[in-house]
Amino acid sequence: MKQKETQEEGNILFVGIDLGTSRSSISASNGTRQWIESYVGWPKDFISLQVVGKPVLFGADALKHRLSLDLCRPLEHGVIKEGVEKNEEAVKEIIKYLIELAKPEPEQKIYAVVGVPADTLKVNKLAIRRAVSEFAHSLMVVSEPFAVAYGLNLLNNSLVIDIGAGTTDLCIMHGAIPSEEDQKTIVNAGDYIDEQLYSYLTEKFPNSKFNKNMVRQFKEKYSFVREIAGDIRVEIPVDGKPVMHDIKNEVKRACESILPALIETTTEMIARFDPEFQTKIKNNIVLAGGGSLIRGLSEYLRDALKEYGPCNVTCVEDPLFAGSNGALKLAQDMPAKYWEPLQEVKS
């Protein structure tokens, strides 16, 4: 029996997938690490099909050709919208593409753990399963912050705050699988910062021409809270001429716009937890997701929570792969007997 199991194991490729609103990543047991931007684009018509030369495009490729594509960001608010088949189709394409990127051997079975925003899990677990099941032999869906926590070995008395694009997910770990109560989702996250920044900039520079994509790039490059030294100057065209603009205040205001809700939810979650363990949790707060790259965020949180006693806030080292690495670890640790009942019937 033991021998049979090891034999089989060689023929299985474990993959961990982080299905995010903005970026999706895959970590596989053969060592592959890949990520794409969660955009899927289909050529708008025959001419654009000629131009782009492919029936479907992904990530940066799709963004580059966005003018000739029907662009779809399937997990816009952290969920697949039920009944919108195009979104489901797009999720399918992303999963298919990610698994191709992991380069499985032709004979290999694929056992996948997919991390999705905590709220998605509640609303449409089935839709996600449907989308993934065609490409994996067996499959488990878990919440994103939980996968991060598992990957970092934070199984007990910790709080993971995963600031993504569509949602910010909070998850308390207490040595068991987190229940619905232990997870909270806030809908203000990266996309919200983009929106705020866009409106602040339009307000300040009514004559300058910029788009959402440029604003997102500004954010990703310069985001900060609290104080930093120096100016933030970017080039934006005015009447076609490139002009330097100072956007420091706007970036700060936009980034800080998500904080009140975040702090309120964090304190609320800690306060609800068993008082005996509250101190431990406060010393074990971990920031993950793209939002953890905002400069000064961990310090800001530490200061904000000061009145509730000392606490320690750290950021994950590799926010892009923290989720998929955790999902992969979960997949590899999962006993074979748990995989079998969840196998999908391949058509």
């Binding site: 009944g83 088949e85 869906v141 699988i177």
Partner: protein, 352 residues
């Protein structure tokens, strides 16, 4: 990270977590598959058994089975097709499609003719619209646009006949909840109601045509489709009781079925001439809200299949949409003029 002495405790926690993840996922897929330690306690099983028997007894004694909608005897006689009824080939006798005791009673003329009521008003409903795009093809063709265009073309064609008053539920790209459509049909005193939709089969690359009329269905796929099409209805469950009672009007059911058969036949036979790979799924019963809310003969035609790439391309051509409108028109006219010898003669000589 963690001190070594707590290793054991950590291992245990890990085991519990892995198990939790597994059970959670098992729950998502419905859960009854054979899990290692997964058993339903015996008393729960007993309770389920008891309640199902109780439920069956109550239902069996009530009027449920005697409802005129699903008369057992008639079902056996083959009047009402539960699943689907492939249409007879073109050369087959018309009566074969709808032959029944009921039909004998009525003769071959539709009800409207028998009582000299003449159909005056036809209501055309372009599916979806506005915020609700319906399904969409891979190249972005939206169901709402195609259905509206076909509906408009159909309206023009029928108008040219001169003898009918044509009303549309929507003539622009506006959001219109299903219950509004039903209200419109009632308020306008329409005589027949035709709703135009496009199909979408995510998993199969085929092209199909099917036409629905209202009735309970046991087909899971049809129910799912109905669920999708009913999504904007804003009808509560309580309304359904009322509606079901209304369905007692078997006449409406019978008439709707004939209208559906006539449209389906014309749509399919003509489309087949152009595209040999098309599939005929026949006429089906389904609980679509648009169909059941109206008291008049009502059908819902899924005239094409947007998930089929080739078909999506075809649909972008005006001529193809015009053709679909023409086939639906022919189906309506066939139904309305059935038994009219003048029309039959004209039709046989005048058209190919």
């Amino acid at each position: 990270m963690l001190p070594i002495n707590s290793k054991r405790r950590e291992l245990k926690a890990r085991e519990a977590i892995l198990r939790g993840v597994y059970e959670d996922n098992l729950k998502i897929i419905g859960g009854q598959s054979a899990a290692p330690d997964w058993r339903i306690p015996l008393f729960v099983k007993k309770m389920i058994l008891f309640y199902s028997v109780l439920l069956l007894t109550i239902l069996g004694q009530g009027s449920y089975l005697d409802l005129p909608l699903f008369p057992e005897r008639q079902m056996a006689a083959g009047i009402i097709t539960q699943e689907q009824q492939p249409l007879s080939p073109p050369e087959a006798d018309e009566n074969q499609i709808t032959s029944s005791d009921y039909q004998e009673f009525l003769g071959s003329a539709p009800l409207s003719r028998m009582f000299g009521l003449g159909v005056k008003t036809i209501m055309i409903d372009a599916g979806h619209g506005g915020d609700d795009p319906g399904t969409a093809g891979k190249m972005g063709t939206k169901e709402k646009d195609i259905t509206l265009d076909i509906a408009k073309k159909l309206k023009e064609r029928l108008k040219r006949r001169g003898s009918y008053n044509i009303i549309m539920t929507r003539e622009e790209d506006i959001t219109l909840p299903l219950n509004k459509r039903v209200e419109l049909a009632r308020a306008s005193k329409a005589d027949i109601f035709i709703s135009i939709h496009l199909n979408y089969l995510p998993s199969k690359p085929i092209n199909i045509i099917e036409t629905y009329y209202f009735g309970p269905s046991s087909d899971v796929k049809t129910l799912r489709l109905a669920e999708q099409e009913n999504a904007g209805s804003q009808y509560g469950l309580s309304d359904f009781k009322d509606i079901i009672e209304k369905m007692g009007k078997t006449l409406k059911l019978q008439e709707s079925k004939e209208l559906a058969a006539s449209i389906q036949k014309n749509l399919f036979i003509n489309s087949k001439k152009k595209n040999n790979s098309i599939h005929n799924l026949g006429i089906k019963r389904a609980p679509f809200v648009v169909l059941l809310g109206v008291d008049i003969p009502a059908v819902l035609a899924e005239v094409s299949c947007l998930s089929n790439r080739q078909e999506e391309i075809e649909l972008s051509f005006e001529s193809h949409r015009e053709n679909i409108a023409r086939y639906i028109e022919a189906g309506i006219l066939d139904y309305l003029n059935k038994g009219d010898t003048n029309y039959e003669a004209k039709r046989n000589t005048g058209r190919r």
